[in-house]
């Protein structure tokens, strides 16, 4: 009995809980929460078992169901690929899903919400889709589950569909991410058309498309590039897929849906809009990194999109008043860091930050959720304050999460963010264009420290500024337990890859790097080392050789400066709004750089007229042709009907005539006489 025999169950368990919640949920004691908890706990255990097996030097690939098997090895199938990357992600997703299910007992059940079976069904379906996405072995399957998580996100954001804002936010999230996914879909078709396969890894006789692309660039393989040079065409494909990534991971310019998505229940925000689904985009780039590593253009675009998003979102987070809005912008910003890392070839750093961020951001959202419950659904930070003493567990865990987010030594966020910045600097020193991305990311560290502690101070310190805050009620175990688990993880998760410490002491403690480099076991070609070679040799991005200490100190100093400024401004029993001092900039930030307005303008003044033209064309030309064919058919049919006169003598005559025509025609053709 091997760990991988149960691999399909990792995703299927939550699917079963989805079915249970959907069908009999309203008759169950906790309305579907208990099957969900059991299923995610089971998925978590199986995922850990898979990690143990991968650590034992194995990987797993299996084709579960092939629905199209055409000639020449073109295969559309569902398959499972469990290697170090996906195994790690499985644990993260199932762990957070488990904790969020537990937390939901406190946030949803205890608050007497209605429609809970629908809620738990949504969570179950989401967990199923996300886990299946994570261990998909090919791009098409990944796309299908990518869409499915998007659907779940839509359903859960709009959970309170009777109110005004949530349905509209759900629609926006769906449409904006769909816009990106449209490019992704074309990219998937393009990849299949180019390589004939969407496999991520060359296993079990399959060839992976990143390796085919590499071989094609080296002139060793022949692929259909539709008349473009191979480099150009691969860059186009990479950009198309990147469309989906940018939409899903809320990167500029498709980030606008994420802050609105906070209309959903807070546990949903923690699970879907912070820790896992938003990570799907970044994860997808990491999953097919062998493809992106081939093109310096793509890498530079990824790095700049990431760096710009990191800074841009952080500035907006500075002026928000709603605690969940601050967290939403910080999420966008943090995913920017991961994109920067992927853009500079820092595969390990990106994955590292993905993991630590999943922990501390889920923690912060759940912490915010706890505060929201305690203050009777108050989300405005100016109406909180003084919760430190009333909610000690929440406060301390939230503080840990904030320190991690701000990047303060020795919390997990410091180590991962530091590694991102360090790797960006190394590439930047050799390839100055990347310095821009580094600079933006570094500057964002300052803003991150500032808005994080502005949030902590306004929420927990000082005097209570409303009745709700004054009368905050106590919280149950089901709220505290997830907070404590995540608090511990947010504090210590960084220790698995402490680069500066390794540099100082020489101790071999870069466990995550060894893990992703395949030292324990991996599919050949899907390792950090292999990607590094590609980035250096194929893309030609060299790295400078400086130690991690100085960059680390700089990053820490910038972060501390941000925290200190927040402390100075807001550590006051009765803090004031200092945002007015920013003048016009405040309005700009507060209105999100007028991004929403810009997008609406685009939709109204560009897309709508274009659509009208297309509609005119469709109605006039396309439908005209179709209707024409239809009426010709009906007219022809009507003529044929008239031959049927009902007179049997006519029929006899027509039959005789038909026979004679046939006879004469074939006699002439066959030359019978």
């Amino acid at each position: 009995m091997a760990a991988f025999d149960f691999a399909p169950a990792i995703a299927l368990l939550p699917f079963v809980s989805f079915l249970i919640a959907l069908t009999v949920g309203k008759h169950l004691p906790k309305k579907g929460a208990l099957p969900g908890i059991a299923a995610t706990a089971g998925a978590l255990l199986l995922s850990i078992w898979a990690v143990v097996a991968v650590a034992g030097g194995e990987y797993h690939h299996a084709v579960l169901y092939e629905w199209v098997a055409a000639e020449e090895a073109l295969s559309f199938h569902f398959g499972i690929l469990i290697d170090p990357l996906s195994a790690m992600m499985l644990v993260i997703v199932s762990l957070i899903a488990f904790l969020v299910h537990v937390f939901s007992l406190g946030y949803m059940n205890d608050e007497g919400e209605i429609g809970l079976p629908r809620y738990y069904a949504g969570l179950g379906l989401f967990t199923f889709s996300m886990l299946a996405f994570v261990y998909a072995d090919n791009l098409l399957m990944a796309f299908m589950f990518f869409e499915l998580v998007g659907l779940c996100s839509f359903l859960l954001i709009g959970f309170w569909f009777r109110e005004r804002a949530p349905p509209s936010a759900a629609k926006k999230a769906f449409l904006v991410t769909r816009f990106g996914d449209y490019f992704f879909l074309i990219g998937v078709v393009g990849v299949f058309a180019t390589f004939g396969t969407g496999m991520f890894a060359s296993v079990n006789g399959f060839e992976s498309f990143p390796e085919l692309a590499e071989a094609a660039l080296a002139g060793e393989a022949d692929v259909n590039t539709f008349g473009f040079a191979a480099e150009t065409w691969f860059s186009i494909l990479g950009l198309l897929v990147l469309g989906g990534v940018i939409g899903k991971s809320a990167q500029f310019p498709l980030h606008t849906w994420l802050p609105d998505a906070m209309e959903g229940p807070t546990p949903v925000s923690a699970l879907i809009h912070a820790a896992t689904m938003v990570a799907a985009g970044v994860y997808l780039v990491a999953r097919m990194y062998g493809f992106y590593a081939l093109s310096p253009t793509l890498l530079a675009i990824i790095a700049f999109v990431g760096g710009f998003t990191a800074l841009f979102a952080a500035t907006m987070g500075v002026v928000k008043n709603d605690v969940k809005q601050v967290l939403a912008y910080s999420t966008i910003s943090q995913y920017g860091y991961m994109m920067v890392a992927l853009g500079v070839g820092a595969y390990v750093a990106a994955t590292f930050h993905l993991m630590t961020h999943a922990f501390f951001k889920a923690l912060l959202f759940l912490g915010a959720g706890a505060v929201i419950i305690a203050t009777h659904h108050e989300q405005n930070m100016w109406k909180m304050g003084g919760l430190k003493d009333r909610l000690p567990v929440t406060y301390w865990t939230f503080l840990v999460g904030s320190l991690a987010l701000a990047g303060i030594l020795p919390f997990s966020g410091f180590w991962s963010k530091d590694e991102v910045l360090y790797d960006a600097l190394l590439i930047g020193l050799e390839n100055p264009i990347f310095l821009g991305a580094y600079a933006m990311a570094l500057l964002a560290v300052f803003f991150t420290g500032f808005y994080t502690f502005r949030m902590v101070l306004l929420t927990f310190h000082g005097e209570p500024r409303s009745d709700h805050a004054e009368n905050a009620h106590a919280l149950g175990w089901n709220v505290k337990f997830p907070l404590v688990v995540l608090g511990v993880l947010a504090a210590v998760a960084g220790f698995i890859n402490m680069k500066p410490v390794e540099d100082l002491t020489g101790a071999e403690i870069l466990y995550l790097e060894y893990w992703l480099d395949g030292e324990y076991g991996a599919v050949e070609g899907l390792t950090y080392g292999a990607y590094n070679t590609l980035v250096a040799d194929v893309s030609g991005l060299g790295a400078a050789d400086i130690g991690p200490l100085l960059p680390g100190v700089i990053a820490l100093a910038v972060a501390v400066a941000g925290v200190a400024l927040a402390w100075v401004l807001y550590n006051d029993p009765e803090p004031e709004e200092h945002t007015a001092r920013l003048g016009a900039v405040r309005d700009l930030w507060y209105n999100n750089y007028y991004q929403d307005e810009a997008q609406v303008w685009l939709a109204r003044n560009v897309t709508l007229p274009l659509s009208r033209r297309a509609d005119t064309f469709d109605q006039g030309v396309i439908d005209g042709v179709v209707n024409g064919v239809g009426s010709v058919s009906l007219t022809g049919g009507d003529r044929l009907r008239r031959i049927q006169t009902g007179l049997v003598t006519n029929y006899a005559a027509l039959i005789a005539l038909g026979l004679v025509v046939l006879l004469v025609a074939f006699a002439v053709v066959g030359g019978w006489f």
Partner: protein, 505 residues
């Protein structure tokens, strides 16, 4: 006991059982001429038919269970043959007959001619089974008449109904004309080759026609005329819409499914066995070309005319003409040079006839149900029936979508392999015409489904006062067969292809 160890004469057992059943019905009728004991009469007929279905299925499976084709048994001085093809079509004919009998139990509840009706059906079925086994032009003609004469009477069985009587008379007159053409064709072929046994005709042609090519050609065209009448192919189709519309709906089901299949089997056997294409095409008698013309014209006329009907039964009549066009591809796409391809095309056509037998019978039986309720005949009269008769309406939706060839129904699979086989034989344009007309057919088939399920009744709820068990069971059985034909499609197609391969050997 394995089928192989039975004496040879038992190979015709399905036909014998049917004939014996007809005799038993006669005996019952002569003892009590005015009997209206429906249970006894219908029961006897159904038991006899089911026994025949069982034996035929058993034989067919035994025939196809070996590695290659099973034995070819000839009886009565080679006038009759039993092989895979004959058994395959025997199964189609007897199954359809059983479904029709089941539905007739309720449909003809008030008819004074019970015994006549059942014995005529059984006799016609016997004729059709014999058509499947005919190995000589003489038996072809006799069995064809044995199937046709009861059919004329069956169409006009509702003596007091003017439509039924008129349809019967028209059918009879056109049938007489076609039989005359057919038997004239046989005489010309006999004149050219000096034989009526199919294999002897082929042997004679092998040695050359000695200047009788023209005679042979005229004979072949006339034979085609006879088959086209029986299969309701253009331009010999004029009787079909009238007869199907005027006849009681179970009889329409019987004629449009079983009778058509029987017409096809003699066409398949006569042309493949007696007139090998590579031999006769060299003499200027390219019958494949004639069938190509017929197939295209039939597909187009049948489907286009069906699209403009307002009467559902008449629409189905034209659609059944259209389906004859698809089945004709089985002969039209034969190339003569490549037995493998030819067997695939012919097998695909046989399989289409099998699936068509189920779904078309089911569709006509639904008409029988609606006629039983007496709610009307047009699309408008069907509106909203799904509210009062959801099961039957669901079955009808299955029949319609399957007839249109939509996945995931068996009608899709059979059209798919048929068109694919035609493309494989190089006749992509036949497949193209088939695909385009199928697309058109979706228009009028979906009109029925729309009327049943989506439209509101014009004046209140349709008047549905009873749920006749016999018709319901028959419809559900036909729907089950239509649905199950998809998972069993591979097995069926293998059998059909093997049977077709045996024909070409």
């Amino acid at each position: 006991m394995p089928a192989e160890q039975l004496p040879e004469w038992t190979a015709l057992a399905p036909a014998y059982i049917l004939a014996a059943t007809a005799m038993v019905l006669f005996v019952i009728d002569s003892i009590d001429p005015d009997s209206d004991n429906r249970n006894l009469l219908a029961g006897t007929a159904i038991v006899g038919t089911l026994a025949s279905v069982g034996v035929a299925t058993w034989f067919l499976l035994a025939w196809g269970s070996g590695t290659g084709p099973g034995p070819t048994i000839t009886l009565f001085g080679e006038a009759v043959v039993v092989d895979g093809t004959s058994l395959f079509f025997t199964v189609i004919v007897t199954t359809v007959t059983a479904l029709v009998l089941l539905a007739s139990y309720d449909y003809l509840a008030d008819d004074p001619h019970q015994a006549e009706y059942y014995s005529l059906i059984i006799l016609a079925a016997t004729g059709m089974v014999l058509m499947a086994s005919s190995n000589s032009l003489a038996t072809v003609f006799v069995s064809l008449e044995l199937a046709s004469l009861p059919s004329y009477a069956l169409v006009s069985i509702l003596k007091r109904n003017r439509g039924s009587s008129e349809a019967g008379l028209k059918y009879f007159l056109i049938g007489a004309l076609s039989s005359a053409i057919f038997v004239y064709g046989i005489s010309l072929v006999y004149g050219a080759t000096g034989s009526l046994i199919l294999s002897d005709v082929a042997a004679a042609l092998d040695e050359g026609a000695d200047g009788f090519e023209g005679l042979l050609g005229v004979g072949v065209v006339m034979l085609i005329g006879g088959f086209a009448f029986k299969t309701a192919s253009v331009p010999f189709h004029f009787w079909a819409p009238e007869a199907y519309e005027g006849a009681p709906a179970p009889v329409s089901a019987f004629l449009s499914s079983a009778s058509k299949a029987a017409g096809f089997v003699i066409a398949f056997r006569v042309f493949v066995e007696a007139f090998p294409l590579d031999v006769v095409a060299a003499m200027g008698v390219d019958w494949a070309l004639m069938f190509q013309v017929l197939a295209v014209v039939t597909m187009i006329v049948g489907n286009f005319a069906a699209a403009v009907q307002s009467n559902v039964k008449r629409m189905l009549a034209y659609s059944s003409i259209g389906h004859a066009g698809y089945a004709l591809i089985g002969l039209a796409a034969i190339t003569g040079g490549n037995p493998g391809h030819d067997a695939t095309v012919l097998g695909a056509s046989m399989m289409h006839l099998l699936v068509y037998g189920f779904m078309n019978t089911g569709a006509f039986l639904f008409i029988a149900l609606v006629e039983h309720w007496d709610v009307g005949r047009t699309f408008d009269d069907y509106r909203g029936l799904a509210r009062t008769a959801p099961f039957a309406s669901l079955a009808m939706a299955v029949f319609m979508f399957s007839l249109a060839g939509l996945p995931p129904f068996s009608g899709f699979a059979s059209k798919y392999v048929l068109f694919l086989a035609a493309i494989g034989a190089g006749y992509w344009w036949l497949a193209a015409v088939g695909a385009v007309t199928s697309a058109l057919s979706l228009y009028y088939y979906s009109r029925v489904v729309k009327a049943l399920w989506l439209d509101d009744p014009i004046d209140g709820t349709p008047r549905v006062d009873s749920y006749p068990r016999g018709i319901y069971v028959a419809i559900i059985a036909a729907a089950a067969l239509t649905v199950l034909a998809l998972p069993a499609f591979g097995v069926g197609f293998d059998l059909a292809e093997t049977a077709a391969t045996a024909l070409f050997e």
